[in-house]
Amino acid sequence: MSGSPIYHALNVTKCIGCTHCMKSCPTEAIRLVNGLAVIDYDRCVYCGQCHRVCPTNAFYVVQDDLAMIHSFKYRVILFPSIMIGQFPEKYSEDQIYDGLKKVGFTHIYEVEQPLQVLIDSINEVLKDPDTPKPAISVYCPAIVRIIQARYPDLTENIILRKAPHNLAAHFAIQRLMKEGARREEIGLFYATPCIAKIAAVKSPVGEAESIVDGVVNMNHLYNKVMKVISDSEVPDYSDQRQNLSREGITWSLTRGESCHFGSRGIAIDGIHNAVRFLERVENDQAQGIDFIEMRACDQGCASGILLSGNRFMTVERLERRAKRYPSAKDIRPEVIKLNTSDLKEKLVLEPIMPKPHFIFGKERVKAMEKMTRAQRIVCFLPGIDCGACGAPNCHALAEDMVNNKAKMSDCVFLQQQWESEGRISPNKAFLNVQKKWGTDRFKADCNKRGRRNEGF
């Protein structure tokens, strides 16, 4: 169906075709075919919204096997600080570090270090008068992809500085090679809280290939560590955290970036909020704002879909943790033997290209005809946006129809009307619905429960 790489998919034995994912997808990338959700990977921006709303956990993530780490002598785990927030309070940072060693890693790097290098680098971009304002952070890969697809002109506003996992990866290489390691002996593994970051590593935007050798699902890693984690005294690993700063620890949370940049910085979290705000930015309605932090998940990475901890508890733990660490400014490069200029050079991204996905075809006259037809079709649809046709809303169904991907008879309301007007037999109408939703749809099945609202 598409040449786009796949990082998440649907377990067809779990999907009950409830339409929740389809309706909450910000790019209308999901349709229901034969009663099951189908993702159009060309449109998908990997925000993970579908995972979040699925009542049956039918989506899964394509990931690397943790066993692959053993093909390297130096096995570095890179993880964002939110991972610490996943563990029960009773486990200390040292016990978690110790658990990661037991799982098989030789070196541990929280990704937000040495953060001052990244802060300085981003500030340089912001100071440049040629940088279009408001400048938008590159941090969340789902946001970068949605800008490429839906707001192509705003790609120019993205700050071309890599995300923290690259920072820590290059820093780790620098340090290990100083200790005598050869580059090919170093394996870098990134523990990711979301599929957007998996996609960012596997098919990066703005760089030829990622520095990271593999990605590890954070839930998966959490389970592995929990199996071996020690309740008693463990060695002191605090020396491995001496480059970590309080800014770094809260970087992945909402306002973690925006509080450091610009004279007027703003933080947006949640993919639907982000879309609405990007619409404003595109209309020049964010005047005066010079820096935008934007993340697909509410509370930032604390609610990544590959996390198990409660996001509010995670935020609280990290805020508390941050207070115990020094400010990034006070971590001197000469003390930690850091080659700042080398690291800065490696943080620069290539320009990010627009990839508009929502155009109606290259030929304008034809595209206009199609759009006019779609507008006309919408007038005949009920406007209930029920999803029973397999499209997320009436408008999307109309667009699918003019693109020959759907038929008028897919609308169950129109079918009813035709039946009452005697234009179609009840039997034929039923067959149509069965074709769309599969024969099993009409069998009694107690597992076929949709999702109720919170609190029920």
Binding site: D153, P356, I359, F360
Partner: protein, 136 residues
């Protein structure tokens, strides 16, 4: 293709709806971003003028292969001296309108700057007709 919108005078809350709808259509037609931006600014300013000064109006947008025509017709006080109104900074907006951040006297100059053709016809006490054309 044709799009029509009605605009209610003094309804600042919803000013900008027609221009953002038109923007979505133009984006789906793969029109160049800089051109879209000019169209959206020109149309938005014209909408705000109707909202700020007139009682009610309509926006009729026609998109053809190489151009977009935007016609805004309103029932309102009209413009007594169009040349004067075209001057940057000239404004007859009320204090209430200015307090809301509108009425800086840049509406018409911005429309002129961002459209390829601009024709204004007005009759005092009756209303104003603004026609703008942009070429792709």
């Amino acid at each position: 293709m044709k799009l029509t919108f009605s605009i209610q005078g003094s309804d600042f809350t919803h000013a900008g709806y027609p221009s953002s709808e038109v923007k979505k259509v133009l984006k789906q037609l793969d029109i160049d971003g800089k051109t879209i931006k000019k169209i959206v600014i020109a149309l938005y300013e014209a909408e705000v003028n109707v909202v700020a000064h007139a009682w009610k109006g309509t926006a009729t947008i026609e998109i053809e292969e190489n151009k977009i025509s935007m016609l805004l017709e309103d029932e309102g006080p009209g413009i007594p001296d169009i040349d004067l109104a075209m001057q940057a900074g000239y404004s007859t907006a009320s204090k209430e309108v200015r307090d809301m951040g509108f009425g800086a006297g840049m509406g018409l100059p911005n429309m002129k700057k961002n459209s390829d053709e601009l024709i204004i016809e007005s009759e005092v006490g009756k209303g104003t007709k603004v026609k703008m054309v942009n070429y792709f």
